[in-house]
């Protein structure tokens, strides 16, 4: 078993499992603290809203466990946002692994919210998670909230302003897009994660 996908109660864990399956990797979906602590890699997915997801992580005790993990951890979409201190979505206190806040995107003509679609990453720092990806690779985004680009940003994406598309601090990585739905570039990124 190569990774545990945290069952935070949201739906749609299947597409992530299938994406790892296409990489030849076995995953388990779990909300069990011991199993998660012992996993070689941990994925924190997230579809739904921040307040619900945090509530479930608190109730299962995982909110205390997650910041203490030392193996590679990958937060995806809402899962990435939960790694930060707090989110404007329902004024939610999050895990606080990474400094910073999640803000609501504001709609403008030609820039609808949620931000939905394929966007290119901006210039990125060297990071093993992005190894072998061409500059300007396209990834699929679906989100209404985001973290502005900052010190932890490995690769930004431009949507009215520079947002964090990929962040990293120590063993924690986060991606705002959905690698499991980002065709070849997403497959590459997930493959890279499995080698961390």
């Amino acid at each position: 078993m190569e990774a545990v996908i945290i069952d935070s109660g949201g739906a749609n864990l299947a597409s992530l499992q299938y994406a790892f399956e296409r990489q030849g990797a076995r995953t388990r979906v779990s909300a069990d603290a011991q199993e998660i602590a012992a996993a070689p890699r941990v994925v924190l997915p997230g579809v739904g809203c921040a307040a619900d997801a945090m509530e479930r992580l608190r109730r299962s005790g995982l909110a205390r466990l997650l910041p203490s993990l030392t193996q590679p951890v990958l937060g995806i979409c809402l899962g990435m946002q939960l790694l930060f201190e707090r989110s404007a979505e329902g004024a939610t206190e999050c895990l606080g692994v990474l400094p910073g806040e999640v803000r609501r995107l504001s709609a403008a003509p030609g820039r609808p919210v949620p931000h939905m679609g394929w966007n290119q990453l901006g210039p990125s720092r060297a990071d093993p998670l992005l190894a072998g990806l061409e500059p300007g690779a396209y990834f699929y985004f679906v989100h209404g909230y985001a973290v502005p680009a900052g010190e932890l940003t490995v690769a930004p994406v431009e949507y009215g302003e520079a947002l964090s598309a990929v962040v990293r601090w120590r063993n924690f990585w986060g991606v705002q897009f959905h690698p499991e739905r980002s065709a070849a570039s997403g497959a590459r990124l997930l493959g890279n994660f499995l080698t961390l």
Binding site: L13, A14, S15, V47, P114, G144
Partner: protein
């Protein structure tokens, strides 16, 4: 399944699966089939067809779909949109609208998958688009019935009118017959995406050539 893989390989940005007879027949889209598609497909895909409850939606999402689209059931019970977006987030709740110009303006129609049961819903399309967004729709797919299937171009005028009241992504549907139609829907109607079926199924337009031409017309596309 073959079509799904082919379109993915040709560079389609998203696939939408409509089981259009599900609602008129009172059933929901087949989940095992959704699961088979989700296993092989690594681009976003949206599933529509007879999703009438949070439980129906959950089953389709758990089978691996990215988004769910509701049309007739949302017209029958608009609260469904609120319930779905509260549970799954508005980013995966698409509201599909079948619309046609009538003596009373643009009106939304139900059960369009069965010509014998198709009926006007009593709702004005612009009002319905506003309400659906307030209730939590994260995307609107506007299928203009008057231009659907005739390949004479998207209904630019109607899409433009809906664009003015639509702050979430707007997907144009109905009428694509040639590459210029796709360009027009982006530059003239301000749609965020264009959906087409028959021109791709028949091979009249291939996705790679469409995307190349759109890019050379200055429209940003993923190649």
């Amino acid at each position: 399944m073959e079509l799904a893989s082919r379109y993915r390989n040709e560079g389609a940005d998203e696939l939408v699966f409509y089981d259009i007879t599900a609602s008129p027949e009172g059933r929901s889209v087949d989940r095992r089939w959704v699961q088979r598609v989700a296993r092989v497909l690594d681009i976003p895909f949206c599933v529509a067809g007879g999703i009438r409850s949070v439980a129906d939606a959950e089953a389709v999402l758990n089978a691996g779909a990215e988004k769910i689209s509701v049309n007739s059931p949302a017209l029958a019970d608009p609260g469904l949109i609120d319930a779905l977006s509260r549970r799954f987030g508005s980013q995966c709740v698409v509201v599909g609208i079948d619309s046609r110009l009538t003596g009373q303006g643009y009106r939304a129609f139900q059960f369009t998958g069965d010509p014998g049961r198709t009926r006007e819903s009593g709702r004005d399309v612009l009002e319905w688009v506003r309400e659906a967004q307030q209730r939590g729709a994260g995307e609107i797919v506007l299928n203009c019935m008057g231009s659907d299937g005739v390949r004479r171009g998207y209904d630019i005028e109607q899409l433009h009118a809906v664009r003015q009241v639509c702050q979430v992504p707007l997907v144009a549907s109905g009428g694509a017959g040639e590459i210029a139609h796709f360009a027009a829907v982006f530059t003239e109607a301000g749609a965020d995406a264009a959906l087409a079926a028959s021109v791709f199924h028949s091979g009249a337009i291939t996705i790679p050539e469409l995307k190349r031409e759109l890019r050379s017309a200055g429209i940003e596309v993923r190649l």
